[in-house]
Symmetry: C2
Subunit: 485 residues, 2 copies
């Protein structure tokens, strides 16, 4: 498949006036257009607003695109020629039949062969009615291909995720469905497969014989901000662990795929989920931020944030020990953690290697105690790698110093594409590799289902710290510690 | 052993007025003094010059030390108080008895306990008469310890090296003998043991299962310069391969020692030599530089250099394939090469890892062909490490790019000690780990003895190139190529 040749198509965005479309989709689409990849593609914004006119929508698109730093000056004509708008009032089949007519009209006018993307950039409660509307109006099939894109959350527990998948599959084949986890569009995350399977020197040591433990951290500095309404119902487990962290974990742990195609890769990721042992209560620590200090400023407790109940039991922090019972990983704990109001915004994967079997340098003193090698893969903010290793410090007697072999993406390459640019290009070219398959979504919910049903005991941690002390004890039980980030 | 406590001693330098003493020994000794390590040590220069007075020698020492960038301003008083001079005329036992008296006099005056270093900073033909002189005068034993230091060459073939060792052992026990290969004092060379045995992630892949071949290059830009008289008798094999390159090879290939002490390390290095297969004529390429260009300037052919015979058959370049028949290395060629008038001055060890067993990225195109990981260890000029690996270049479709995880000694640490500073400190503290043991010297000569006896066919190469084409063919036979340096 040649991603530099996108077939002519219509890219239909439900929620066209919404935040996701403004912040991510329109800038990414314009970027692809600027690269000459969308020469025969048209964008159709769809929303409930009847006050919005096509001209007003094009003006909105122009503003959005111009406000990004990537505008080359040609954005105006692109918006005028390729961006369209139709208003819609959800709920009636009639409305979708009208939309079908509008779509066919546009396709006729621009000689498009009927290839269509339906992007549901809308709140999850609108997924099902929209999918049904599209389906019942016969828009799930066309003379070309038809693809449907949804954003997480894909349900909020096992039952709801199964139900959502079933509703999707009523009208769409899985090969038409693109579930977006934008983490998978980040260069470093995509690079995990290259790093592992194009570099035998690392793949050689990627197993229980050589690895002591693996740590995945997605830390946020921000608190709940203006999302209390959503977040207090959701919590960190649903918001981050079930999707982003588990995705990264399956990429780190998966076996080499038979081929680098979507099904082979997704089969291997799914296999990791099937090898994960049930998570025991003692494997999990929930936390909630209390008052503290961020960057020297006082920071509110979660329960004092606007919109959060004083007795909220929602977790803003999760740390977890996961165990993968397969030949490669048996006995190697995978520690994951995520939280709000942590000391810095950072997403890193740390692979801690086993120490040397004998400590030949130990007699030379304190600096020469055996230390682990650690491979640190940074997903944000500075995408890159550090391999921590021991060197002899200059001079005598022998002193060991821990140093890094380092590589930074931005030092090596210029601009990195936004994750959405990558993902939209994949949707347009029909590559599902970076998207969440139905079985993965259900299986990852299944992992946490028991936990979601039971009442969480949330441990307080001061805003600006790395979570409650129990998160450290979780590792200490195995003689491990969180790698200092 | 605590290297920061040097026992009071007298450091006697034969060849005190010579080049090595001026360039290396005095600056290194002063550096150690400045670091407070030689508080009760005195230096005694010994040479044949009767015109040299002690005052003149101290003035010479002051000049030498001041011309180094490390002079802290205290060098004058150190030279006056701790540096001494005696002239000597070699050849008569009487002379050495006089020297013994002088030494005892100095020791008495400065309350030294009889610890003595005899450093033979003189041409190899003077080694034996000096050693005999020292020995017959009873200077090989004292109330304290006595150590003798010699510089390479340790013979110029197997027979002469055996003879030299026998002559040394007539008066000195091997535990008293420090044979200097200054390469072993370089930080990166010393660090090879730390790199390998304090970093399990690398030691895990340090074997025939993971490594395709190993390449050791010591390249010089300079031609023969003013050393034609010496060099034309000697050639690159004797000058570089038998010592420096073979030392580095044994450090790269050795098994983990039982302990990090001199005997354990030297036992393992010796074991590598014993596992080396006899070198076949087809494993060796000799070269001699012809006229060419260096940095855009015309450069003379070796045979046109002043002092070199027009029909000289001396090799200025050697490339060699070595095979180590043991469990770790069977089937992994070790390629070594050295030469004068090569494109740059560089000493590097390159470990080429095996490519991935399957080429999963190959369908994505030319950039995605399987490539080897390579670990490049630079001994000079920029001491450090590069681990060449594949990353996903940003953007779609998948494109692989070769990048480096890199570490530089000088970026991480400030000034690196000169190799001599390291080695003199080791001599003073009685650590023989970095010195060449008698059996290693003989064994490494034995490796090349057949080759030294047979007439070399030297292949011409233009000055400023990487040696004759035969050196590339040597690797091409095995499907390998020299790593681009």
């Amino acid at each position: 498949m040649d991603k530099n040749r996108i077939e002519p198509c219509l890219f239909i965005i439900f929620g066209g006036t919404g935040d996701l479309n403004r912040r991510k989709l329109l800038p990414a689409l314009y970027q692809l257009a600027r690269r000459g990849l969308l020469d025969h593609c048209h964008i159709l914004g769809v929303a409930r607003s009847t006050e919005m006119t096509e001209d007003a929508f094009r003006a909105l698109a122009r503003d959005v695109v111009r406000s990004t730093e990537v505008d080359s000056g040609a954005s105006g004509s692109w918006c005028d020629q390729c961006v369209h708008y139709r208003s819609i009032r959800e709920g009636s089949e009639h409305v979708y039949l009208n939309l079908a007519n509008e779509i066919e009209g546009l396709e006729k006018r621009y000689s498009l062969p009927g290839n269509r993307v339906f992007y549901l950039a809308m709140p999850p409660q609108s997924f099902v009615p929209t999918i049904e509307g599209i389906g019942r109006a016969g828009l799930n099939r066309s003379a070309g291909w038809t693809r449907i894109v949804i954003e997480k959350p894909f349900g909020d527990d096992l039952a709801s995720s199964k139900k959502l998948n079933a509703q999707i599959h009523e009208f769409f084949d899985e090969s038409q469905v693109y579930r977006i986890d934008h983490y998978l569009g980040k260069e470093t995350v995509q690079n995990l497969l290259v790093f592992r399977f194009a570099n035998p020197v690392f793949e050689s040591v990627w197993n229980r014989d050589r690895i002591e433990n693996v740590q995945i951290t997605v830390a946020e500095e921000l608190g709940v901000e203006k999302r209390a309404g959503y977040y207090d119902r959701t919590g960190a487990l649903r918001d981050m662990v079930q999707n982003h962290l588990t995705q990264v974990l399956t990429l780190i742990a998966m076996e080499p795929p038979a081929a680098m195609d979507a099904e082979s890769i997704r089969d291997e990721k799914e296999k990791v989920l099937r090898s994960l042992r049930p998570i025991q209560p003692e494997d999990v620590v929930f936390g909630q931020y209390a008052a503290g200090r961020m960057d020297g400023q006082p920071a509110l407790a979660y329960r004092d944030e606007p919109g959060v109940a004083q007795d909220s039991n929602t977790e803003t922090f999760v740390a977890m020990r996961l165990r993968i019972a397969n030949w490669r990983w048996q006995g190697v704990p995978f520690y994951v953690r995520t939280g709000k109001r942590l000391p810095k915004r950072v997403s890193k994967i740390v692979v801690i290697f086993k120490i040397a079997p004998v400590a030949v340098f130990q007699p030379f003193g304190a600096s020469c105690q055996p230390r682990s090698n650690a491979l640190v893969m940074t997903i944000q903010p500075d995408e890159g790698f550090n391999l921590q290793f021991q060197v002899k410090a200059p001079g005598q007697p022998i002193t060991l110093a821990t140093q890094n072999l380092h590589f930074s993406y931005t030092e090596a390459f210029s601009r990195l594409a936004d994750a959405y640019e990558t993902l939209l290009l994949d949707i347009l070219s029909g590559d599902q590799a970076l998207f969440v398959r139905a079985d993965w979504a259900e299986h990852s919910w299944a992992l946490f289902d028991e936990m979601l049903k039971s009442r969480r005991e949330v441990r307080p941690y001061a805003a600006g710290t790395w979570g409650p002390p129990e998160a450290d004890q979780l590792l200490a039980k195995n003689g491990h510690a969180w790698f200092s980030l």
